[in-house]
Symmetry: C2
Subunit: 214 residues, 2 copies
C-alpha cells in the first residue's frame, strides 16, 4: 500500500459539516465500508455491537432534532448508528463461542479456557461493573476503521457524538433490545460550500501527545 | 486507493500473539503509524490522550507481568500504551482553544460559542459524570486508525486490554499526572510459528450485526 496515499487520506479527512445530498456512495464502496465495520477488531473478538444503517428518510427526519438539528443526519448518503450491548451475559458469550467452533471447526470444549478468561474478566471480573463502557469503547474501534476506510476511498464522514442517546433509543425502538445508542457516523460527499473543508486541521504538536520512553 | 488492497488488509490482520523479536518497524513506516495516532479524530477535536511508546527494554520487562505475562510486550517492535485524561477541566479546554486560534489564525473570541458547547456537554453537561469513559472511548478511535494503517502497511498488531491499568499507571509514573492507562497496542512482525496467523477470522454473519432500516 502506498504510504503517500495513506498520509494524504489522513490529512484530507475532516468532520464534514455539510453534505451534498445529491451524491450517493456507490454499492461497491459501501460494501467495503460495511466490511470495515464487520471486520473491526474487538476485545476477545466479542463484537458487542450492532450497526444500524438508517436509509428511511422519515426516520432520519425524526432523528435530526435528537441530533442537535445537525444537517448531516438528513443530507448524508449513509447514516450509521452505532449501538452496543447494555450488558454482557453468558448466553451472549456462548453464542460467540459457538460461532468460533463453527467457523474454525473446533470443539466447544477446546474453547473452555477462553470462555473462563472472558467470564473471569468481563462477567465476574474487574471489568464487570463497567462492562457497558467496555462495550462502548469497542464500537469506537469500529468507528475508527469505518472512518479510515472512508478517507482512503475519498468518502467524507462525520463522527457524531452530539446526539441524545435516550431519544435515539426511543425512535429506533432499542428500549428493551439489550442494545443502546452510543454514537453515529454520517458518510457521503462534502458540500462544495462547506467552509470547514478548507480549515486547517488542528492537532496538538506530536511531541506533546506522543512520548518515547527510552 | 485500491479497494482490493484495503479489503486484503482487513482480512490479513489478526491479533498477533507471537512477534518475531528480531524484526523492527522501519523509521519511515513508524512515522506514518505515529501520524495515524496524532491525526485521529476525537470528539470536539479535544484529543484527550497521550500515547506512550515504550522503547526501554527494562520497562517492557516490568510491564509484562502486569500484562498477564503476554510475550507481545517484550517481543514486539513498538509497544504503545494508550493513556487518557482522568477528567476534563476548563484549563485543558482553553489550551485546546488557544491551539485552534494559533493554527487557524482566528481570535479566541470567535471560538466562544465552541467553548460553551464543549463546557455545556462535557464539563457541566450530560457527559460530565462519565467524562473519563468519554475520554477512553476517543482513544479507541485512535486505536482503530493505528491498527488499520498497520494492516495497510503489512505490519502486525495486537490490541491489548488484558493488562492491569493500575499497575501500568504505577510503573509508568502516571499517578497524579492527570492521565491513566486504558489499553495498549503491540506492533511489529508476526513470528512465523504463530498458529493464530492461519486461524480463520471469526465474525458474526454481517446480516446479524448490520441492520438496514429502510
Amino acid at each position: 500500500m502506498n504510504k503517500t496515499d495513506i498520509q494524504t487520506a489522513l490529512n484530507w479527512r475532516y468532520a464534514t459539516k455539510s453534505f451534498d445530498n445529491t451524491k450517493k456512495i456507490s454499492k461497491e464502496d459501501w460494501r467495503l465500508l460495511e466490511e470495515s465495520l464487520v471486520k473491526s477488531p474487538s476485545s476477545f473478538g466479542l463484537q458487542p455491537w450492532k450497526f444500524l444503517i438508517i436509509q428511511n428518510p422519515e426516520l432520519r427526519e425524526k432523528l435530526k432534532p435528537a441530533t442537535w438539528g445537525q444537517s448531516q443526519v438528513t443530507d448524508s448518503s449513509h447514516f450509521v448508528v452505532l449501538t452496543t450491548l447494555d450488558k454482557l451475559n453468558i448466553d451472549y458469550v456462548d453464542t460467540y463461542l459457538k460461532r468460533i467452533a463453527e467457523v474454525r471447526g473446533v470443539s466447544l470444549e477446546s474453547l473452555d479456557g477462553y470462555r473462563k478468561g472472558i467470564i473471569g474478566n468481563l462477567i465476574d471480573g474487574p471489568r464487570a461493573p463497567t462492562v457497558r463502557h467496555w462495550a462502548d469503547r469497542q464500537a469506537y474501534i469500529a468507528m475508527g476503521f469505518l472512518m479510515e476506510t472512508a478517507a482512503l476511498l475519498g468518502i467524507d464522514a462525520c463522527p457524531i457524538e452530539g446526539l441524545e442517546p435516550d431519544k435515539y433509543d426511543e425512535i429506533l425502538n432499542l428500549k428493551g433490545s439489550g442494545y443502546h445508542t452510543i454514537a453515529a457516523v454520517a458518510l457521503g460527499y462534502r458540500n462544495q460550500n462547506d467552509k470547514y473543508a478548507s480549515a486547517k486541521k488542528v492537532r496538538f504538536p506530536a511531541e506533546s501527545v506522543v512520548k518515547y520512553l527510552e
